[in-house]
């Protein structure tokens, strides 16, 4: 009886870890999507309404989708240190500390570069930079979507099979 309970536990834990990996793929795709949407709003607010950055960040922290809203919330919080730190370092820190975004290092670097231009005097420059980052993140989003599509089934099968395999070996 204990053997069967053990077998079920092993299979369930293998399936669980597989589902967790699949969920991470889904969350990454969702994160990219939320970042793209929020950056479209950011661009619109800067170019069409000349809204000050703290005001846009506050709006995005409240209204944009999870997990992008966390990034703006963290950046807004860090902006209290402007004067002892540059905005670039504040933004980079917010990007690095918002772990919910599930970004890789190169993705963090691309997003971090916005901090060099954001809030600087020329609207056109800011617009150009945000557009470049949006197009990069749109690419990352598509890649994350492909990853999810290709890997969801494979990982699910692998999870179940490896669970069954471990059970057979132990029995």
């Amino acid at each position: 009886m204990i053997k069967y309970i053990g077998a079920v536990v092993i299979i369930v834990s293998c399936v669980y870890s597989t589902l967790k990996a699949v969920k991470k793929l889904r969350d990454r795709e969702k994160s990219m999507q939320s970042l793209c949407t929020s950056m479209e709003i950011l661009k619109d607010e800067i170019s069409n309404h000349l809204t000050p950055i703290p005001e846009v960040f506050e709006m995005l922290a409240e209204r944009s989708q999870y997990p992008a809203n966390k990034l703006y919330k963290n950046a807004l919080e860090e902006m209290k240190n402007i004067g002892s730190c540059s905005f670039f370092s504040i933004w980079k820190k917010a990007v690095a500390e918002t772990e919910e975004l599930l970004l890789t290092e190169p993705e963090k670097q691309v997003l971090g570069e916005i901090g060099l231009t954001l809030g600087r005097y020329d609207v056109k420059n800011q617009e150009g930079m945000i557009n470049r980052v949006i197009s990069r993140f749109d690419f990352y989003r598509k890649r994350a979507e492909d990853d999810r599509r290709q890997n969801t089934k494979t990982q699910a099968y692998l999870g179940i099979i490896s669970g069954v395999f471990v059970v057979i070996v132990l029995l």
Binding site: T51, P52, I53, G83, G119, R120, Y121
Partner: protein, 303 residues
């Protein structure tokens, strides 16, 4: 003037500086802090404070480009785009009502200044609100309870804007509807939707709008009894003032000049005086630390 208030304004202004410069300037003695008129930063040069018309270094460490960028980031709250219209005129107004003049390389767009390529110098002007300086004058601007349009005249740096602000406050607090067209944001210094200086309880502010357009807009929209503007410099301003004046609106304005005679020699003001809008002229006389005011009635002279 209250010395503690002067020091408090200085302390507030230095919050606009990057941390390193702020720590250095904080070491100035109380007397210097109270009498500092401007803080001046130039790339590659030692930072200075302007006291009594003379610059004095407060650190021997040269100002860097990063210092100026950070000053702008603090002053604009990292929102240069939001103050672009005033930047192309060479200044910005920050929280606290401090005006920052900017020098650097500009780029042109469609024949006009499009913006700054880089900033190489900045002058933070420590504006101070002098509540009550107009209390002895305000009553004299009315005749039989009706406000008579008034022009404040003095050379630069004598406190025209400061007097204008206080007169607006006093008159507005008496229940008179004042529309303030604050093109350069120096009078009310609106920041985050709130005037940083007290401009009275019945004052409506239109900030950042060219005076001529602003006068027309406020006349149409706000039903003002008085319109206040700072530094009339353009013939379009004069035309707008004449039109509004014909609607029965009084004016409280300022102009750069020593005397009325100087104004008459300039075409812009000649037409304004010819239109006989202003019934009172206030002259400001500044000697050392003291300012005195003289009112002259103009009606007969301009008839």
């Amino acid at each position: 003037m209250d010395r503690d208030y002067m020091v408090a304004r200085f302390d507030r202004a230095i919050k606009l500086l990057p941390y390193g410069l702020r720590e250095k300037i904080r070491k100035l003695d109380k007397e210097s802090r109270a009498s500092t008129e401007e803080i001046r930063l130039r790339t590659g040069k030692a930072p200075t404070v302007l006291i009594g018309g003379r610059e004095r270094e407060f650190s021997d460490v040269p100002v860097t480009r990063a210092d100026l960028d950070m000053l702008m980031d603090i002053a604009t709250q990292v929102s240069g785009h939001a103050v672009q219209s005033s930047m192309i005129n060479g200044y910005i107004t920050s929280t606290g009502g401090f005006r920052i003049g900017i020098g650097g390389s500009v780029y042109m767009k469609d024949g006009a200044v499009g913006g700054y390529r880089n900033i190489t110098s900045a002058a933070v002007r420590i504006s101070r609100e002098l509540l009550g300086i107009g209390s002895g004058l305000a009553g004299q601007l009315f005749e039989n309870g009706i406000f008579r349009s008034t022009l404040i005249v003095s050379p630069p740096g004598c406190g025209k804007t400061t007097l204008l602000r206080d007169l607006i406050r006093i008159i507005s607090d008496r229940g008179v509807r004042v529309s303030l067209v604050d093109e350069r944001g120096e009078i009310a210094a609106v920041f985050d939707g709130k005037p940083q200086f007290d401009v009275g309880t019945h004052t409506d502010v239109l900030e950042g709008c060219p005076k001529a357009q602003g006068i027309t807009m406020m006349t149409r929209a706000m039903n003002p009894q008085i319109i206040a503007v700072d530094e009339i410099t353009d013939i379009k301003d004069v035309e707008a003032m004449i039109n509004a004046s014909n609607c029965g609106i009084g004016f409280l304005a300022t102009a750069h000049a020593e005397r009325l005679g100087d104004l008459k020699s300039r075409p812009v003001y000649r037409s304004l005086l010819h239109a006989d809008i202003f019934k009172n002229i206030i002259y400001i006389n500044k000697s050392e630390d003291r300012r005195t005011y003289k009112i002259e009635r103009t009606g007969a002279e301009n008839d």
